[in-house]
């Protein structure tokens, strides 16, 4: 009989249910929105406004000039001026400041002899922060107002750094496209992992399996509405990311759509597979988290893929999110074409096909 008809029937039914389930419907829109704002604004790998203290034992005008130069680079925020190095140390230990800049009594002599001008006391417990402060070590200084930058050390910077793709080093540019992978992993797997279990718990399944429906028709029918939901989510994240965080969009929409569809399909079928394993909705959620965590940690979204040990990279390759992080950054930031991304897309399609077949085989039209 008509297989497309049955798939359409299941898809239509899922649409109706999704549209009436305000919670799920809200999640489709709210999760990308909240995550976008959260990651875009709050989570910032570019370090700014680190609270520090300044101790000036020299009391000289030079110290004030240097302090002013440190302040204007915006990396640090001078929250207090202290009198002794002991006070500064106490403030660092107490966590009131992350670092303290100390100018010694003999500042004038040190400058005259080309010695180091001051000392940084740095709280090393946050490596990102300490890394940035260590960078201040070699900051070029001008000792009198109006003198050329770097006059003190007399040597020009030995090399010039030019950053590609993200010259201002804004983390949003890197985070927003990767975020699509995480949001899709979260919502897509969750929705479909619940899909079959819920019908089983509510008793619908017992009726459904007495009908002539084929498991594959049921599976594919259930995927359709959530595929559209996934496309909506990507549109929200990248659209608002472009408007709010000025994330550039270098690639083609068609390429992005192909990449997104292949990833959405992979995530949804993975969810269906979980749904055939889980015995309750709670178990389905737990299994989803089990997939979600490594997807966030290993996909390259949070930590650079290339910096991971080889074994971790192998594991990362098994998760669809890893491939999509690569794809979406390629399309959105570097303007990569379809043929340059074919490897990851084909991998996702193969993953979808295999997982869908396994899920179908696992789905039994019997109760025993």
């Amino acid at each position: 009989m008509s297989s497309p008809g049955r798939i359409a029937a299941v898809a239509h039914k899922e649409f109706l249910q999704l549209a009436r389930d305000r919670m799920s419907f809200g999640m489709i829109v709210m999760i990308p929105l909240v995550q976008l704002l959260l990651f875009g604004y709050a989570i910032n790998t570019m370090v700014r406004n680190i609270p520090i203290a300044v101790v000036d034992l020299s009391g000289s005008a030079t110290a004030r000039v240097i302090t002013e130069q440190v302040r204007v680079n915006q990396v640090v925020d001078i929250v207090s001026y202290l009198h002794t190095p002991q006070q500064a140390e106490a403030a660092v230990i107490a966590g009131e400041v992350r670092a303290a800049l100390i100018f010694p009594r003999d500042l004038a002599r040190r400058i005259a002899s080309g010695d180091t001008v001051g000392q940084w006391l740095v709280d090393g417990s946050d490596t990102t922060v300490s890394q940035v402060l260590l960078g201040l070590r070699n900051m070029p200084l001008q000792l009198q107002a109006g003198a050329p930058a770097g006059a003190y050390q007399a040597s020009e910077p030995s090399f010039e750094v030019s950053l590609f793709f993200n010259p201002e080093r804004r983390s949003a540019v890197n985070i927003v496209p990767g975020l699509t992978a995480i949001v899709l992993t979260m919502t897509m797997i969750l929705f479909t992992s619940l899909a079959l279990v819920r019908e089983r718990e509510l008793g619908n399944m017992e009726l459904l399996i007495t009908t002539p429906i084929h498991p594959l028709e049921l599976m594919v029918g259930k995927l359709v509405p959530y595929t559209l939901a996934g496309l909506v989510q990507v549109a929200i994240i990248l659209g608002l990311g472009h408007v709010i965080f000025k994330v550039p969009f270098a690639g083609g929409l068609g390429t992005l759509a192909v990449a997104t569809l292949s990833f959405v399909a992979a995530s949804l079928t993975l969810g269906l597979l979980l749904s055939t394993i889980a015995r309750s909705q709670l178990q389905a959620m737990q299994l989803t988290v089990f997939i979600l965590l490594p997807s966030i940690l290993l996909s390259g979204f949070m930590f650079p893929y290339d910096a991971m040990p080889e074994v971790a990279q192998w594991i990362a390759e098994a998760f669809p999110a890893t491939h999509f992080v690569r794809l979406v950054r390629g399309v959105v930031l570097r303007g990569a074409q379809l043929e340059q991304l074919a490897g990851d897309i084909l991998w996702l399609c193969a993953f979808t096909a295999v997982v869908l077949l396994v899920a179908t085989a696992r789905f039994n039209k019997r109760l025993d």
Binding site: M1, S2, G5, R6, A8, A9, V10, H12, K13, L16, Q17, R20, D21, L202, G203, N204, M205, E206, L207, L208, I209, T210, T211, P212, I213, K365, R366, L367, D368
Partner: protein, 305 residues
């Protein structure tokens, strides 16, 4: 084709240690309403699930509509309708949406779909309720929708698993009128119940207890077999009399009904009425017409087996 819609021999289903259905034989004639009467846990649902092809029998031979089960379960699905014990339609969809969904799943063509949906809406008095979500309906209304869905694809055999457990007596009567309409039109119906009044409406009845068929006949024949074995006693101090009677081996059961005590005697008991006259001095005793409850008690040995 034979005149049997269902023929089962030695049908058995074990769940680990438990034997839920224990070598039952069934012969259900076409066009009849066949009842499963039994308490909860007697194996009714398990038996029905096996006959639908939802559970694989541990043992036994089953033929449903001439097809071997479970091997031929898939093609059978178009010919049977199943109303589950637990309500299994989508409560967040409307009557019409549920009907449309199931009609498409059963592969009815566009024109036939529309025609059949209109017919069942009419037949089960659901036209007014077609736009309402099932979660906003009463138990009786929901059961009508469930029956409409189960009959949508014109099955020749209907399985109804305790269809009226959430329905009030008046709606239950209406529901049975619909069943007789379907039966009249040639549909074979297998219905399970634990209501005696419903069981009495069936053409034929199998009494199930602990996975076994204890009796299998028409309700009339089952009740007729107990003629002369049911005695009603009226008088005072019936509780004491009941306690005295219950210890007698020939008394199967003694159940008080208001100011009377209904006493059921064993098949081997001699002259029950005379026995009671002597046992219950000062009480009025008379033979009563056996009912299905008596049949049920006799079949299950008063639950003391």
């Amino acid at each position: 084709m034979s005149g049997l819609a269902i023929s089962a021999r030695g049908l058995t289903r074990r769940f680990g240690e438990l034997t839920a259905v224990d070598h039952i034989d069934l012969s259900v004639e076409k066009g009849r309403i066949f009842g499963f009467l039994g308490p909860n846990g007697s194996g009714k649902t398990t038996a029905i699930r096996m006959l639908c092809g939802l559970l694989t029998p541990s043992d036994g031979n089953v033929e449903v509509l001439g097809r071997r089960i479970p091997a031929d379960a898939e093609p059978l699905r178009r010919e049977i309708g199943y109303m589950t014990q637990k309500f299994s339609l989508y409560t967040d969809l409307t009557t019409l949406e549920n009907l449309r969904f199931m009609a498409r799943v059963y592969g009815l063509g566009r024109g036939e779909r529309r025609r059949r949906i209109d017919e069942v809406l009419e037949q089960f008095a659901l036209t007014e309720l077609r736009g309402r979500q099932l979660q906003a309906m009463s138990g009786g209304q929901r059961q009508r929708v469930a029956l409409a869905v189960a009959t949508l694809h014109r099955p020749t055999l209907l399985f109804l698993d305790e269809p009226t457990s959430a329905v009030d007596p008046e709606n239950r009567r209406d529901f049975w009128e619909k069943l007789f309409d379907l039966s009249e039109a040639g549909t074979t119906i297998l219905v399970s119940t634990h209501y005696m009044d419903e069981a009495e409406r069936c053409h034929r009845l199998a009494i199930l207890e602990r996975g076994r068929v204890r009796r299998d006949d028409s309700p009339q024949a089952l009740m007729g077999a107990l003629d002369g074995r049911v005695v009603e006693v009226s008088g005072s101090d019936l509780r004491t009399l009941r306690a005295q009677l219950m210890v007698r081996p020939e008394v199967v059961s003694a159940a008080q009904q208001g100011s009377r005590l209904r006493v059921l005697f064993d098949a081997g008991a001699e002259a029950p009425l005379e026995q009671l006259h002597s046992a219950a001095q000062g009480h009025t005793c008379q033979l009563a017409r056996p009912n299905l409850e008596d049949v049920f008690m006799a079949a299950t040995s008063g639950g003391r087996a």
